[in-house]
């Protein structure tokens, strides 16, 4: 499959050197991506020429800012196949998931009235997640269960970290009110069988929440085609700024889910003791919005769209194989998850989390860092999956559009030396 052209010149940070002048090999994009000039310029342009409060005031700056802010929303909507008013800006993907879970908790105590009744959960109801979730898509649901008396259940994973779907009907039952799962694992890189999971959720009338943090930056994603109810993403993994993420929700759901952050810009009429909400998306965007960041996220999806998400996907697949195969072939190194994807599952991400026999992940990371190679060490906010694998943490390398094969080769070469350095090589 064809690689993208070398995009590194678009990313100013990639030109810097680290640890005594070594060129940077950035393989931590799964944690956060680097930003192209286009994104930095979009934010700078906003602050330098158009900064003003949005959806308020009638002066020129306010008008321009509002227009840019809402145009960015339309760009992000188009990027995931949604309508503009189905996109809510949030601080990051974690907050987007909390928006749904906390909204459901509020509905459960009567906030939003009968209009919000479909979001209520309580004793006897079940909330289902999976064993491969990032903490962001686990803890909000634990807490929803704790607050409402509903029961948390989960889909287990097999030795390779694949969700076990054979017994799906016994895990996702008529009692299930919401099924929250990841589109792609940030540890194994496995892309989930969204079709199977959504079909089951629909069969039992459960809402679906898709954590698309790791998929949206790397694969074409269409929320309508996937037919999920909610979907979350984080700009900073999509070449965009920090401080912004987005929630997609089907319009009719967003218009009836109660908000959980309250304040200005969300309301119609406020008296000292009553408040009526605006329609979505504004009912959820309390206070002064992350305006420059939304505009930056708009620029990021434009950059990705200009590359073409099919081309991005092809690049990712090419690197995925090189990376995962390369790591798996190393003696004394255990790759978490399968080397390549199963036929029916489709893609895998260019992510490889692994364990070096006899060397702790922090020590592995340190040696790589000394060579200018940036990877992530630890549990990657996914303790249950690591526990399932029988380990506390792992070392993770992950790629993005600017990653080139030689970055991966540099990693593989350095890894071969790690065991020697710590004196554990055969």
């Amino acid at each position: 499959m064809p690689l993208l052209p070398d995009l590194r010149p678009d990313f100013p940070l990639l030109a810097r050197t680290v640890r005594n002048g070594k060129p940077l090999v950035y393989l931590d994009s799964g944690a956060t991506a680097q930003k192209p000039h286009a994104v930095l310029n979009a934010e700078a342009d906003f602050y330098q020429f158009h900064n003003g409060a949005v959806q308020r005031g009638a002066h020129l700056l306010a008008e321009e800012a509002t227009d840019m802010y809402e145009s960015a929303r339309a760009q992000v909507a188009e990027f995931v196949g949604a309508e503009p008013d189905e996109i809510v800006w949030t601080e990051n993907a974690t907050h987007a998931i909390n928006l749904v879970a906390n909204g459901m908790a509020n509905a459960s105590v009567g906030i939003g009235g009968t209009e919000s009744a479909r979001f209520r959960v309580g004793p006897g109801d079940e909330i289902v997640v999976t064993q491969t979730e990032h903490h962001a898509n686990l803890i909000p649901w634990q807490m929803l269960a704790a607050k409402t008396g509903a029961t948390l259940r989960w889909i287990d994973v097999d030795d390779d970290g694949r969700m076990i779907l054979d017994n799906l009907e016994s895990v996702v039952t008529e009692r299930c009110k919401v099924l929250a799962f990841t589109h792609a694992s940030n540890v194994t890189g496995i892309v989930s069988r969204v079709d199977v999971l959504v079909a089951r959720a629909k069969a039992v009338g459960a809402l679906t929440v898709l954590d698309a943090c790791q998929s949206v930056p790397h694969l074409p994603v269409d929320a309508k085609a996937l037919d999920v109810d909610f979907l979350v993403m984080s700009a900073h993994k999509m070449l965009g700024p920090t401080g912004i993420g987005a929630l997609y929700g089907r319009k009719e759901l967003l218009d009836t889910l109660p908000p959980s952050q309250f304040g200005g810009s969300t309301v119609k009429v406020v008296t000292m003791d009553t408040t009526t909400w605006l329609d979505s998306p504004h009912r959820f965007e309390a206070g002064t919005q992350p305006i420059a960041q939304a505009i930056g996220m708009g620029a990021a999806v434009k950059y990705l769209s200009d590359l073409g998400m099919e081309a991005v996907e092809a690049h990712e697949q090419e690197l995925a194989t090189r990376l995962r195969q390369g790591v798996a072939d190393l003696p004394g190194v255990r790759l978490l998850g399968p080397v390549t994807a199963d036929a029916e599952a489709g893609d895998m991400l260019a992510i490889a989390a692994f364990v070096v026999d006899g060397v702790h992940t922090h020590d592995v990371g340190q040696v790589l860092d000394d060579r200018g190679i940036a990877v992530r060490v630890g549990h990657h906010c996914n303790q249950p999956l690591h526990r399932h694998f029988g380990i506390a943490g792992s070392t993770r390398a992950s790629a993005h559009v600017y990653t080139q094969p030689e970055d991966i080769d540099a990693l593989i070469a350095a890894l071969a030396d790690v065991r020697t350095f710590f004196g554990v090589a055969a």
């Binding site: 959806q55 308020r56 005031g57 009638a58 306010a62 008008e63 509002t66 227009d67 309301v267 119609k268 009429v269 605006l278």
Partner: protein, 154 residues
């Protein structure tokens, strides 16, 4: 004519000062519909009532307060739409919306004719924040017609 003068044309100022249809009228008829709209930027409100007689809009009346743009706009729509049939009302509403999104450019002759004096609002299209003001009454009209059609007894 400056952009500001284009926005606040004399006919708009006149309607703003002496608005038509102000004061809710209760005809005690079925097919009466009402809508309450708020401009959330400034808190301006309008409550607009429509009475249908078959396909004809028999009466439009309203109460509310707002800026000259919103008040003049409601006043003009009352003049324009009262006594007309539903099809014509729909087309006029669409034409007015189109005018608002024309960024200060006019529309084709046919639709401008349909809007009559209301084409004077053309200048508002240059000010996105004010479009809501001009549309406030029209949104209420559209919604009140739907309510009236539901046949809610007066």
């Amino acid at each position: 004519m400056s952009a500001l003068e284009q926005m606040y044309q004399q006919v708009i100022m006149d309607h703003a000062r002496e608005a038509h249809g102000r004061g809710l009228v209760d005809l005690g008829l079925p097919h009466t519909g009402e809508s309450h709209q708020v401009n959330t930027t400034c808190g301006d409100e309008v409550r607009l009532r429509v009475v249908l007689d078959d396909d004809t809009i028999k009466s439009i009346s309203w109460e509310g307060s707002g800026c000259s743009i919103s008040q003049a706009s409601i006043s003009m729509l009352t003049e324009l739409i009262e006594g007309e049939d539903l099809e014509m009302a729909d087309e006029t509403i669409d034409a007015f919306k189109a005018l608002m999104h024309a960024k200060g450019q006019g529309l084709d002759e046919q639709r401008e004719d349909m809007l009559g004096d209301a084409t004077a609002f053309v200048g508002v299209g240059k000010y996105p924040a004010r479009i809501k003001c001009a549309l406030l009454g029209w949104m209420a009209l559209k919604d009140a017609i739907i309510q009236a059609q539901k046949g809610a007894p007066a």
